[in-house]
Symmetry: C2
Amino acid sequence: MAHAVSPLALPLPALPPIGGVRLGAAAAGIRYVGRDDLMMVELARGTTVAGVFTNNKCPGAPIDWCRGALKGGKARALVVNAGNSNVFTGRAGAEAVKASAEAAARLVGCRAREVFIASTGVIGQRLPVEKLEAALPALHASLSDEAWERAARAIMTTDTFPKAATRTAEIGGAEVRITGIAKGSGMIAPDMATMLAFVFTDAKLPAPLLQRLLSRGVARSFNCITVDSDTSTSDTLLLFATGAAAHPRVPAEGGPILRGFRAALEAVLHELALLVVRDGEGAQKLIKVSVRGAVSARSARRVALSIANSPLVKTAIAGEDANWGRIVMAVGKAGEPADRDRLSVAIGGVWMARNGAVVEGYDERPVVAHLKGHEVEITVDLGLGRGEATVWTCDLTHAYIDINGSYRS
Amino acid sequence: MAHAVSPLALPLPALPPIGGVRLGAAAAGIRYVGRDDLMMVELARGTTVAGVFTNNKCPGAPIDWCRGALKGGKARALVVNAGNSNVFTGRAGAEAVKASAEAAARLVGCRAREVFIASTGVIGQRLPVEKLEAALPALHASLSDEAWERAARAIMTTDTFPKAATRTAEIGGAEVRITGIAKGSGMIAPDMATMLAFVFTDAKLPAPLLQRLLSRGVARSFNCITVDSDTSTSDTLLLFATGAAAHPRVPAEGGPILRGFRAALEAVLHELALLVVRDGEGAQKLIKVSVRGAVSARSARRVALSIANSPLVKTAIAGEDANWGRIVMAVGKAGEPADRDRLSVAIGGVWMARNGAVVEGYDERPVVAHLKGHEVEITVDLGLGRGEATVWTCDLTHAYIDINGSYRS
C-alpha cells in the first residue's frame, strides 16, 4: 500500500487559521491501521456552502446526501473518512451516511442537513459506521484552528503526499483568506477528478453566489485534469464561507468587488487540481497539453483530453520518447474537426511537425532535454479556428500497474 | 523490440491455397533488419474488393489511396509493408504510395488503381519507397499459392505471433473458402482496431454486395475489440473475392444463397479480431465484457467499451483482483443511462453485486479461480431494457509499459 513519494510532490504551504473553521483528525480504524482516517471540521454559525460532484451515474451514498444537504445552502460540519468510499452499498450505505451526519450534528448542535459527508476508498464494502460514530466525540473535542496538515493527511488513500493551497485576497479593502485541502491520485478524470477537495474561506458570501464562483472555477481547474480517464463515483468539491471576515457586504450578484477574491479562489482550485495530477498514480512527469486553432474551446478541450488520456502518448512520455506520431493519432481519434494537413505539433516549444508533415531537420536535442525533465509541454495547433484549451495529466508508468494491480490486497 | 510470445497466442491454422490468390514476402530493409517486411499478393483478373478503414481524422497516405481505389471495385494486387506507416508524411507520403502502386502495376500488368497499399509501423517518418520498389520485382517473381504464413509474418510489428483464420462455406452446393490474415497488437480501438487485415475468398461476388457483407461483419468483430482505446491512423481491412470458385451466380442483393458464406465470413472476421486482442501489447488475459439490460444495443456497446477501456478495470484483472467496484465506476462514467440501484455485476458467471449492492456471502472462490485463468468474463446487467453488446479486450500489464515506453528505440 505504501508507495514512494511522487517526484512531482510539492511541500505543504504554511496554512494559517481561518476564522470560523476548526478541524482535526483521528484514527477510527475503518480500514487502515496506525494512521488517521477520519477528518472533521466544525464551521461557524452562518457558514454558507457550495458544491460540485461527480457526473458518474453510480455515485456513492455520501454524494446523494450532500446533493440533498446543499439545497439548504448552510453548513456547520464536515465529516470525511478514508479507506471506504461507501459506494454501491445499497440502503445500508444511505443509512450509514445519515447516522454519521446525525452523530456529528449532535456534537455540534445543528441539524443533520447542515453536516456534509464524504468518503473515499474501496467501493462496494459496507462502511463500518459504528467505528466512525465511536471516534467522533473525542475527535470533536480535539478540534482546533491549526490542524490543517493533519486533516489533509487523514483523507489520503493512494496519495503519496498531502495537498493544500492557500491565498489571500481583498474584498472592499479587508483581507480574506481561502485555503483548500484535497486528496486524489487515481481514478482521476473529469468531470470531476477522482478526488475530494474542501475549500474554506472567511469571506461572507450568499450560497447562490458561492455556487456560481465555484462552478466557474471548476471548469478551469478540476475539470481540466486527468490521470487515467476513470471518473470516480465519489468526486466531491465543497466550498465553505464562514463569514468571519469583516468586509463590506457583497451584493447578491457579486460584481467588481469580488474580482480579487475570484482570482484567488481560482488560483487555489487550480493549484489543488495540479497537486492531484502531480500525485497521479505512478506519475514521474507532469504533462501540460495545450490545444489551439480548434473550431471551438469545447472542441479544443476534447482534443486535449484525447491526447491526455491516450495510453500510447502517456507511455511515450514515460519513456522520454518524442513520439509525436502518437500525438497525431490521438488528435485524429478524438472525433473532433481536424485536418491532417493543417496540423502542427510541438513538444517543449519545438515544432516537430507542421502542416501535416515532419519539420525536416528540426533540432531534436532541446526536445530530448525537455523530456528528461519532470514537466513536459505538448502543444498542438489544429490550424482551423480560434478555440483553445489546456489540460494536465501525468505519464503512465510501471508504478501505475503496481499500485492498481494490488489496490485491495 | 522482441517480446515474449503472448500466453494467449493460438497456433496458425493450416491454410490451403485459394484459387486466384498468389502471395509472398521479402526483406526490403525498410526498417527492420533480418526479417521480411514486405508482402505482396497478386489476384486473378476479375477480383472484386471491399474495404473498411480507420475513422481517425489523421489517416495515413495509404488510406487515402485505398479509399480512392476502392471506388473502382476491382483489385489485382496488394502490397503491404511493416516498419513504417507512411502516416503524417505530407506530399512525399502520397507520392510514395503512388510510386508503390505503379511499380506493382507494371509487374502485374494492371492499372495502378487496381493495386491496394497498406503500411504499418512508426508514424511521421518518410517511407523509403526506393527500397520497396527495389524489392518488388524479385518478390513478384517468387509469388506462390502457399506462402500464407510467410505473408502473415511479414506484416507484423509489435505482434508476437502471426494471425490467420480460415473457413469453408457452400454457395449453391459448391465449396468456397475464406482465409484472412491480420496484424495488430497496440493502438487498438474501434473504429477500427489498429490493425491490418486482408481476407481472401474464391467466391464470385459483385463489389457492392461484398462491401455490404464486410461492413456488417465488421460491426460484430473488429469494431468490438479494444486494447488501449487508441485508434490507429492506418487501420485497414480489405476483402478480396477472386471468383475462381465454380458456384451458381449470386444475385446482386445476395439473399438466402449466401447464408452459409455470410456466417463463415463473420467467423473469420471474429476470429481475426480476437487474435488481435490475444496479442494485445502485454496481454496476459483475454477479457470478454458482456453488457445486457441497456436501453439499446448502442448504449450497451458504449458501456461495454467504457469497462473494456478502463485502466483501473484492466489493471485489476491483471492483478487477478475481483474488484467489481471498478466495474461499477466504469459503468457510471460511460455517460449512458444507468441506475446504480438496478445494476448487477458478475465475474466468471458469479454475481457479486446485484441491484445496487454486494451480494452478501457470495462465494468468492470460483471468482478467484476464474481470474487466475487466461480468459476472464465480465457480465453487467443494467436492468433497464433489452440492449445487449459484447466486446473483447485484454488486461493492462507491465509489459504494455515496456513495449510502449521504448517503441522507437
